[in-house]
Symmetry: C2
Subunit: 168 residues, 2 copies
């Protein structure tokens, strides 16, 4: 199996980190896949797809997703995301990033079984990356690398608003 990286915690930087990882691998001409779970909105990072034709970038998530009010559509989209992931793993990319999958797991949009199927389908030389706060313990236990992004201080807590180019 390929190695499993988990980037979790409540600090700023998880999605950015994943984009930077993609950039580094693409810089060496490697094949990279980024699959964003729970990202319906427009984001600055999606422009990474214009950078390199070797990058496959796919967003799943309804535009009006609300954490507290998930509905049937959100479950259907999550299943689509899992199936897309399983299919693309067969192409043996060098790096595959499942952005915010930990949150989807936490919300119950994706089952732990589905996550395990993904992990167990990861080809030997593929690096598999899970991001998002609140990664389940089972995932942390089997991961080959875990970095916790810990929020020590954040300007949101003094009332600053999310800023274009920095938060999205």
């Amino acid at each position: 199996l390929g190695r499993l990286h988990v980037y979790t915690g409540d600090g700023k930087g998880k999605t950015s980190m994943a984009m930077g990882m993609a950039m580094r691998a693409l810089g060496h001409g490697q094949r990279v896949v980024i699959i964003q779970f729970l990202k319906g909105q427009e984001t600055g990072e999606q422009n990474i797809k214009n950078f390199n034709k070797k990058l496959i970038f796919k967003k799943f998530g309804s535009k009006n997703f609300i954490f507290e009010k998930k509905n049937q559509t959100d479950y259907t989209i999550a299943v689509d995301a899992v199936n897309f992931t399983l299919n693309i793993l067969k192409t043996k990319p060098n790096l595959i990033i499942l952005d915010e999958i930990n949150v989807a797991l936490n919300l119950g949009l994706i089952s732990l079984d589905s996550a395990m199927t993904i992990i167990n389908s990861c080809p030997k030389n593929t690096e598999l990356v899970f991001t998002g706060r609140g990664a389940p313990k089972k995932i942390l236990d089997i991961a080959d690398l875990v970095t916790e992004m810990k929020n020590l201080k954040h300007y949101f807590n003094r009332g600053d608003k999310a800023k274009k180019g920095i938060e999205y």
Copy 2:
């Protein structure tokens, strides 16, 4: 003054995070500067400079830098990096990333005074990012945002070697 972000800690992901931040801002057409301290070697992430003409990417650091045996050249290069930073701040970029500056501070290649001069020269709407393990307490105290990338588990500890596209 612009806001100061600090990404520190011993976990994997700090430089990648910075590259991803750059990507996000560039995706919105913003002006971004990345200055790498202590990075003499070739890296995959340096290819980010081919992505967008609005990005200014500059590496400082001798090719054969050794932590334990720093010499006069390393100090000279560090001063160059600080001066380059101070000059480029005058152009008021949206985002400026000083990659590994925390390590340069820790090693004494850059003085805390120089770092404070940089911080105090940061224009109001510029986001200033410091990365690297071991950020000095003074820097953490005045930062507007601090994320600690904490190593909870790493495959290096079981003997895996650094891999192209993943570690560099």
